[in-house]
């Protein structure tokens, strides 16, 4: 692997759930393996750079609406980057923006970029709490993913679109169909924050390898603290 270039979209507007923790994990796990790492922030009105991994976080309603007005420009370039092998990780509000639209309580509609076939509609209550998923991204044995969800949106995936994982405890995309997030090739969207990557180092490494085009498995790291934090979180979620 020659390196990992991350483009962090709208770091000033979409950063509500400690999104920088996800970036810190990617950076450290590359650095510990001597993989060159760089991250650039992309704000409203700025040009979308070429990158191996595009990261979009979550924001307050007002910020998300501001971003929705800008991100439409990136729909085609981002799709082209994904087609040529780049990866995308989108969390919470960023996840909703990957789809076709977010429809609010008053029927007001926020357009997404349509990178993935999904739609989101506001529910009457927020889904808040610890969440645990079983994920099997490449068809292997399921991996556990833990974190916290806090969203009013109910997301429905299009026909044949796969979720990131199956909900073991918590609500997931809509509290009904048992799915959480989306996994489409190298694109991942999810409501799980906490932040997402620190307690799920396997997913961080999956993204690094996938986005960086690693020819062989990444060298393992000492993940005892990460795995213990995950174990505790899963235990608390099961209560």
């Amino acid at each position: 692997m020659t390196g990992l270039r991350v483009a962090h979209l709208y770091p000033e507007h979409l950063n509500i759930y400690a999104d920088r923790g996800n970036i810190a994990v990617l950076e450290h796990r590359c650095r510990w393996r001597d993989i060159p790492f760089q991250v650039v922030g992309v704000g409203i009105g700025e040009v979308l750079p070429e990158a191996d991994l595009y990261y979009i976080g979550g924001g307050q309603d007002r910020d998300q609406a501001l971003v929705a007005g800008d991100i439409a420009r990136h729909a085609a370039p981002l799709a082209a980057q994904v087609a040529s092998g780049s990866a995308v990780l989108a969390v919470c509000g960023g996840y909703q923006l990957l789809g076709h639209y977010y429809r609010g309580h008053q029927g007001d509609e926020m357009r997404g970029i349509g990178l993935v076939d999904l739609v989101t509609e506001a529910g009457t209550s927020r889904m808040i709490g610890n969440i645990v998923l079983d994920c099997s991204l490449d068809g292997g044995a399921p991996r556990r993913l833990v974190g916290f969800e806090n969203h009013a949106g109910r997301t429905i995936l299009g026909e044949g679109v796969k979720p990131l994982g199956r909900v073991v405890s918590g609500n997931g995309n809509n509290g009904r169909d048992g799915g959480e997030g989306v996994h489409a090739g190298s694109v991942i969207g999810t409501y799980v924050h906490g932040p997402l990557l620190p307690k799920n180092p396997w997913l961080a490494d999956w993204l690094i390898a996938r986005a960086g085009g690693a020819a062989e498995p990444l060298p393992p790291l000492d993940d005892r603290l990460e795995n213990e934090a995950q174990r505790v979180a899963a235990r608390i979620a099961a209560r």
């Binding site: 509500i16 309603d61 990460e226």
Partner: protein, 451 residues
Amino acid sequence: MFQAKVGMARAVASLSRASGRGGGTTLPGRLLLALEPDAIGRLATGLRRGSAVISATNGKTTTAKMAASILSPPLHLTRNAAGANLASGIASALVRDHDADLGVFEVDEAALEGVAGGLRPGVVVLGNLFRDQLDRYGELELIAARWRTTCDRLPGSTALLSNADDPLVASIGRELPAHTWFGLDDPSVALPEMQHASDSKWCVRCGARYAYRSVYLGHLGDWACPSCGDARPALDVAARDIEPEGLDAIRFRLCTPVGEAPVRLPLPGLYNVYNALAAATLALQVGAGLDQVRDGLERFSAAFGRFERVALGDVEAVLLLVKNPAGANEVIRTLAADGRPKALLVALNDRIADGRDVSWIWDVDFELLAAQAGTVVCTGTRAAEMAMRLKYADVPEARIDVQPDMAAAVERASAAATGEAYLLATYTAMLELRGLLEQRGLVQPYWQEAA
């Protein structure tokens, strides 16, 4: 009939104190409010000079205690216990004592609307709004909107005292005539740049990015909008010539419409200067003199877990409550300022009062302390998660000690320390730590402190 209900609530209070279960700081009020929804308003009519409420994301407890240090004596005050800052806590305080000169209440930011409606306070202090426990409070804008509604409903006679340095707070009740503004005015203590976790960066009126002449803390500072021209209101009460004295104290010149006074506040940190300004403005509003304000601030002793110092064997433990990124960042910036190595204990719980969502620890700049961290003992329900956060803040793993059991953690931290040990804890973790220290007779139960 009302008196009978109050009598019943009072009996519950004595029972609760006798059984040693938290001293009846919320239960009697909860009971009374269930029987009599307007109990707060009815009891408050007994307060001869009415009441003052203080709301903010950070600093409510310290500000209320500072105001009490200035005002009492000579005034006899009714106050709610630290943290018992919902309607139930205020009703409980009034059940305990509604025959006072003045009520001084800290009020949870989400509870202000309901409390102000019943209490009809003569003075309202609005301190600051930072993101805090999104799973519990929701987004910052929602809290601001509720504060706006609250202020719109206040009678014209109510004095509104607000932090001018917080643009979101300053957007509330801006047009009210009886509005006093406080803030810092000393560019020499400003930050070189805005911190990453800052909230409210965008103009409330027009959405453009604020420009700051000085940023003092988070998004607090001397702000202006280059697009629509909105700017920080002129300061009525200001702190100038600010000089920290290590972790012991901070000096400043208190400038008010009735004169100026040098103050040595026996607590560190710019955030405590904000708390002192809020308390001073409140005290002046209810008739205190400038000398009384200075004396009250100078003899202040720390509130529950706010730079509270406790002897722990040969070590002095410094208790630091951390609840949200803005507050925790100020604690960390204050600790890091002297550059000296420190033994630390960080207690992270994820109970309801702490916020079930612990993601906020990633918005706290533990990186600033990494180079100074001696042994760091991590404890609490999320001990391993805290340890992992420190690992990614580049604290060497060999110095991180994960010890979920809090009693064992305190032992480890005091054994590892020479001189001082700094104990950072979330709300319920701080209660547990205090409980351990109470058993050793080192501190008083927290409910005995406020009154």
